[in-house]
């Protein structure tokens, strides 16, 4: 069935391959010649060989699909899936976590909170290419957004945190961020009668290191941004995207961006080298977690070093460095048009860009 479908949809490819196969000196192998070899192969090799045969058909099919304008907006057929609603959690813990997220007592010198670098009122990050450490020095890597972080398989640019719990604990204790410790923060919170009361209500006991981290993580799990126009299109709303945006999505796939930026978070689920064909920003770290493109239009600057200040600039640089392609202005514009549809909503409002320094906007 699959062979029949492939044959009918890849006429052009076969037409070009037939004379090549008859050309002397070429090492292509026909299916009838391939079968006996597969039968005699070892079991594991046989499975892989079958997969590779399927790959040939798929590759041929993908060539045609990339050129086909017909798209069915079905999520299960696309490599990107919609952002699910935030999980059902204890609202008291979420509220406590939100309060802790904005609490400067988590830092050693009481000057910065999680919100300082992850402004959840805008894009979950900052406008800075490099946020500053407590000693005033810029941190090495650009701050990724906290929105949809729970959907990533690893956290941070280097993917050095497997869980939100580890990431929260490390952030509180890292000298480059809060330079404190969970225990120190808990000690401060225990002196606050109102905070003790809120912990009592949420966890049935006073502030505790485990509960402190759990409350923050519970809040972070609520920071998902469903409802983007692209998600609505995936869910069957064919009018959610314009023809230009849909064309941009096709280009996004045909250029190969989709190879890394796929899944529910449009990235965030694998590691990749940067600068495969040409350098892309600072060389370190060599291997980065592929960033999510959710809300990407609102999260400049871009890349691990924050070197791209605009989205078109980032798309063009990615095409050159990772795909070895000089994208035309029209191609860049089309991809950006598609990326703009990935902006979701948080608490009923669309995620927006951070326009001011979060330290200035942060509540006292």
């Amino acid at each position: 069935m699959r062979r029949k479908a492939a044959a009918s949809s890849t006429t052009r490819t076969h037409a070009r391959r037939a004379p090549l196969a008859r050309r002397p000196g070429l090492s292509t192998m026909s299916l009838p010649r391939l079968v006996p070899a597969l039968v005699s192969a070892a079991k594991a090799d046989f499975r892989i060989a079958c997969v590779l045969v399927a790959l040939i058909y798929l590759t041929a099919a993908s060539f045609t699909a990339a050129q086909s304008p017909a798209v069915q907006p079905l999520a299960e057929q696309e490599p990107i899936t919609p952002v699910p609603p935030a999980p059902a959690q204890d609202p008291r813990r979420v509220a406590l976590g939100e309060q802790l997220f904005a609490d400067r007592r988590l830092s050693h010198d009481n000057t910065s909170s999680c919100l300082t670098c992850h402004d959840t009122r805008t894009n979950g990050a900052t406008v800075n290419a490099h946020d500053t450490a407590p000693d005033g020095q810029p941190v090495a890597l650009n701050t990724p957004t906290v929105f949809n972080a729970s959907l990533n398989f690893e956290l941070n640019w280097e993917g050095n945190c497997r869980t939100l719990e580890t990431q929260a604990t490390n952030t509180i204790s890292s000298p480059m961020t809060m330079a404190s410790s969970v225990e120190e923060a808990v000690g401060k919170l225990r002196a606050d009668a109102e905070m003790v009361k809120q912990f009592q209500e949420a966890y049935g006991r006073g502030p505790d290191p485990g509960d402190l981290v759990d409350a923050i993580v519970t809040f972070e799990r609520s920071l998902t941004t469903p409802g983007s126009r692209f998600d609505r299109w995936l869910q069957g709303d064919t009018g959610a995207l314009t023809a230009e945006e849909l064309s941009g999505y096709h280009l996004f796939k045909s250029l190969g961006c989709i190879s890394c930026h796929q899944g529910v978070n449009v990235g965030g689920n694998l590691f990749q080298r940067h600068g495969i064909f040409h350098p892309l920003g600072s060389p370190e770290p060599e291997l980065v977690r592929v960033p999510s493109l959710r809300n990407v239009a609102t999260t400049p600057p871009y890349f691990h070093d924050g070197s791209a200040t605009t989205l078109p600039q980032a798309v063009r640089a990615m095409g050159f460095a990772q795909l070895d392609r000089l994208l035309s202005d029209e191609q860049v514009a089309a991809v950006v048009t598609f990326l703009n549809t990935l902006t979701g909503t948080y608490r009923g409002a669309s995620v927006t860009s951070a326009v001011l320094g979060p330290r200035a906007a942060e509540p006292p």
């Binding site: 052009r12 490819t13 391959r17 090492s27 892989i48 590759t59 190879s259 796929q262 529910v264 990772q322």
Partner: protein, 450 residues
């Protein structure tokens, strides 16, 4: 004190039975079932992981979230298995080996995802450039070399042997020799070469990663863990069965004890009934003797002895022997139990001999158990196996005994000494009254004569 001991015994028994019950029912079935399910979950997650990476390699899976989900499921299963092993005090060696294999699989899976993403990207690029109209792929100058190189790439995608790599390298060299270095197509030609060279290196490496991932050694530790849990469960069930057997035996002993207790209660009830009947007989005959005219005492005594003998049960003969001259005897015997010669007259002397301590009652439950001597010989001589006698002495007037002969040993404990003495008192009082009446008559005769 006795009630306290009884209560303590009952509580101890209840505690023992409860403990045995709990140990007998503690088969750990739920935990084992959960562990077995976890092993199945692990196997399913691993199969899903292998399926997903194979699909990804074939280009059929373009979303790598399922790979991450399978990895998380495997890690979660490892955690649950380790927790179960630790809770059951089992060796975690096989779980540790399984965890190490999973860590290896995850590392390989991450490497594979990164590689296959690049690979799919470059495959698409090579495909588009080699078939699309935007580059010189339709140009007669480049088309043969580009087509040959694209075919070699697809062949390498199927067969990543060194020969296929060499074949692709030859196609790359062939195209590179004629690719434009300048002009409108130069950038595309160089990009095509770059992607093809990337695929040349990436395809064999990716397949090597895939093979290592598929061949990760999880089967042996997984089976070892399964066998470890199954053996442990078998041991737990065997222990539980032993406790069930002990519980059964304890229950059986309890039933026996309850039956024995019931029998004892029944015997006591019967004894109480017989004692009440005996006391009733004593009271009735005491009344009769009181109301009996002294002249009729002798006849009434025989009747009373008969009723007492029957009421006591097992008594073949009953008699009253009074130490008069000649010896006065009132006797009753059951059918076919006549008195031997000299008996019961000799009973008076025998009672004095056995009741040397001045006891009001003498009982010989089993004649055979008596120490050798004259008394034993005498009793055996008259054919008795059990004997009892009650003193009827009234100072100054009556001296005698009331005896009971038994042909079978064992004197019933139903009739305690006070009750039997009560019967003796009734009889002694009747004889005493008779003696008084006789003395009164004698005194009256003397007075008349005077």
């Amino acid at each position: 004190m006795r009630l306290l001991s009884f209560t303590a015994g009952v509580l101890l028994l209840l505690a023992l039975l409860t403990w045995l019950l709990l140990r007998g029912t503690d088969t750990n079935a739920r935990a084992y079932s959960a562990a077995s399910q976890t092993l199945d979950d692990f196997a399913l997650a691993e199969a899903s992981l292998q399926r997903d990476v194979l699909q990804a390699r074939a280009g059929l899976l373009r979303n790598y979230v399922p790979v991450d989900t399978a990895e998380e499921a495997m890690e979660d299963a490892i955690g649950r298995l380790r927790s179960y092993a630790q809770s059951e005090n089992l060796s975690t060696e096989s779980i540790d080996r399984l965890g190490a294999a999973v860590a290896q699989q995850e590392e390989l899976a991450e490497r594979f995802k990164s590689s296959v993403a690049l690979l799919q990207n470059s495959l698409v690029y090579v495909g588009v450039l080699s078939t699309g109209p935007m580059f010189g792929s339709t140009d007669a100058q480049f088309a043969p070399a580009i087509g040959a190189m694209a075919a070699a790439v697809l062949h390498l995608a199927r067969d990543t042997s060194p020969d296929a790599v060499q074949a692709l390298q030859e196609r790359i060299d062939h195209f590179a020799a004629q690719a434009p270095a300048a002009g409108p197509d130069a950038q595309a030609a160089q990009a095509l070469l770059a992607h093809t060279r990337l695929l040349r290196d990436l395809l064999p490496a990716t397949d090597a990663t895939l093979r290592a991932l598929i061949a990760a050694p999880t089967e042996t530790p997984l089976e070892a863990a399964r066998a470890l849990f199954a053996d442990h469960q078998a041991a737990v069930e065997a222990t539980a069965q032993r406790y069930e057997l002990l519980l059964y035996l304890a229950s059986l002993l309890l039933v026996v004890a309850l039956v024995r207790l019931g029998l004892r209660l029944r015997a006591r009830a019967l004894a109480l009934r017989r004692r009440a009947a005996f006391e009733h007989v004593i009271a009735e005959n005491s009344t009769r003797l009181i109301n009996c005219p002294p002249a009729e005492t002798a006849a009434r005594l025989t009747q009373v002895l008969a009723e007492l003998g029957r009421a006591m049960g097992g008594v073949e003969r009953a008699y009253v022997v009074l130490a008069e001259k000649p010896t006065r005897v009132h006797a009753w015997c059951a059918d076919e139990a006549p008195f031997p010669d000299g008996w019961p007259e000799d009973a008076l002397a025998l009672s004095e001999q056995l009741g040397d301590g001045g006891h009001d009652i003498v009982t010989v439950p089993d004649v055979a158990a008596l120490p050798p001597g004259e008394a034993k010989n005498k009793l055996k001589a008259v054919g008795l196996r059990g004997w009892a006698c009650v003193s009827l002495n009234r100072p100054g007037r009556v001296r005698g005994i009331m005896g009971f002969d038994k042909f079978q040993p064992a004197w019933s404990t139903v009739f305690p000494v006070p009750v039997v003495l009560l019967a003796g008192d009734a009889v002694a009082n009747a004889i005493d009254r008779e003696f008084l009446e006789r003395d009164r008559a004698r005194l009256a005769t003397r007075l008349e004569r005077a």
